[in-house]
Symmetry: C2
Subunit: 243 residues, 2 copies
C-alpha cells in the first residue's frame, strides 16, 4: 500500500529544494541529486553545487550551462543547492507569431495568466531572432556573495536560433522562497548552449503554460542552511542577481 497523500497530482506540484534567499546567502551546496530531482519533475531550473552553471531541465533531461556557455548533459549524481521542477503538462498553449522582446513577452504573459496568486511553469519553444544569456562560474570556498559573482558573469548571445525557454512565475508572497515574477532559462534545440535568460527577441514560438497550485518546499538539513541569514529583505539584491 502506498502511504502517500501527495501522490494524486504530482504534475500539479512545483518541487523546490532550498530557497532563493539561501542562494543569496552563499548556500551553494546541496544534497539533492539530479536523480532525485527527476522523481519530482521533468522540467525546471536552478543551479548546481559550487554554483557551477545554470540548470535547465527539459523533457526529463537535465543540462548544465557552464561559464564557457556550453550546455552539458549532466550525470544523475550531480547535486544542486537550489532548483525548482515540475512534471510539465500545459494547461494553456498559445502560438505567438509576433516578435517580442523579454519585456514584451512578460507583458504578454501578464495578460494571459488567470491569477497572480498561484504558480506557473513555462515551456516556450520555437525560433528566436535573438537570445542573450548569462551563466555563473564554479566557486571555491569561502564563497563570495551571488551579487558579487554576477558582476563578472559571462554573457552569451545567439542569433536566429531554435530552442526552448524554460521558466517559472511565482507570486510576490513567495519572495524569500523563490524568484517573484518570471524566471527564465534557455537552451538551444541542439542542446549545445543556453543559460539564464537576460534578453530575447522571439521569432515564432509556441508557449505552454502549466498552472500549478501546489508547492513542495524541501529545506536542506545541514549546518550551512541552518546558519544562513534567510529572513532579511533583499529584493534589491535579488533584482541585481536575476536580471
Amino acid at each position: 500500500m502506498c502511504g502517500c497523500s501527495y501522490a494524486q497530482n504530482n504534475d500539479e506540484v512545483f518541487y523546490q529544494t532550498s530557497t532563493i534567499n539561501a542562494l543569496l546567502d552563499e548556500v551553494y551546496d546541496g544534497n539533492i541529486t539530479v536523480k532525485e530531482l527527476k522523481g519530482y519533475g521533468d522540467l525546471g531550473l536552478g543551479t548546481y553545487n559550487n554554483l557551477d552553471g545554470e540548470m535547465i531541465g527539459l523533457d526529463g533531461l537535465f543540462y548544465q550551462v557552464k561559464a564557457d556557455g556550453i550546455a552539458y548533459a549532466v550525470d544523475d549524481s550531480i547535486k544542486t543547492p537550489f532548483a525548482v521542477v515540475t512534471f510539465f503538462e500545459s494547461d494553456k498553449t498559445i502560438v505567438l507569431e509576433k516578435s517580442v522582446n523579454y519585456k514584451q513577452l512578460e507583458q504578454y504573459l501578464d495578460n494571459v495568466l488567470p491569477t497572480r496568486n498561484i504558480f506557473y511553469a513555462f515551456k516556450i519553444e520555437g525560433t528566436f531572432k535573438y537570445i542573450k544569456t548569462r551563466s555563473v562560474p564554479w566557486q571555491d570556498k569561502p564563497y563570495p556573495p551571488l551579487v558579487e559573482i554576477v558582476k563578472d558573469q559571462p554573457i552569451f548571445e545567439f542569433h536566429d536560433v531554435n530552442g526552448t525557454i524554460v521558466g517559472s512565475w511565482f507570486p510576490g508572497y513567495m519572495k524569500g522562497i523563490n524568484v517573484p515574477g518570471y524566471h527564465f532559462h534557455f537552451i538551444t534545440e541542439d542542446k549545445k548552449g543556453g543559460g539564464h535568460l537576460l534578453e530575447c527577441q522571439t521569432g515564432g514560438v509556441k508557449i505552454g503554460i502549466d498552472y500549478t497550485s501546489n508547492s513542495y518546499l524541501a529545506l536542506p538539513e545541514d549546518d550551512e542552511f541552518y546558519k544562513a541569514e534567510l529572513s532579511k529583505e533583499n529584493q534589491d539584491e535579488l533584482k541585481k542577481v536575476e536580471k
Copy 2:
C-alpha cells in the same frame, strides 16, 4: 505501484491549505475537508469555513472552539479555508517545571530551536495556572476583514487547568504564507474548551518539538482565492489579528 515521491517522510512535512494572507483578505471558505486534512497530519491548527471558530488538531482528532468558547469534536465533512497540519513526532522533548508566561515561553523556546530557518510543530501538555484564549465568530457574506472581526473577539479564561498547547513556528521568510514566529492554540484535557492562545502561565508542562524541514502548500483553485490581494505587506495587520 505508488507513483508518489513525497511518501517517504510524511511526518516531516507541514501540509498547509491556502495562505495566511488569503485569510487576511477575507478568503474564509475552502474546499478541504477535515477528512482530507487527517491524511496529511494528526496535529495542527487553523480555522473553519465562515471563520467559524479555532481549529485544534491533536492526536488525530480535530476540534472546533466556537465563539461560545466550547470545543466541539468536528465531523469529517467540515471544511477549512486555512489550516496547517503534520504527523507529530517529537524530535526534542523537554520537561519545564518552572512557571512561565507566554512571552517567557517564547523566549525559552527561542533558546532551544536549533535554527531559525526551518519549521517547527509544538505539543505542550500539562498543567497551566492560567490560560487566556479567544475565538472568532461565524461570518456571513459579504465578509468583513479579519482585523475588524478580532476587535470584538470573545475572550475566555481558564485557571488551574490541564490541557495542551498545539503550535507552529515559521521563519520570517514564510510571512505571507503562514504566521511568522509562534502560533499557538489551546485545548483543555477534557476537550471541552480552548481557543487561540493569547496569554498563559504554565504549571509543569512537557514540551514536544517536531523539527520539520518540508512544507507542502496546497492553494485553493477557486475564484475567491484567485481574486484575493495576496502579495501586499501586512505584518502590522497580522500582529493585530494573531496577538
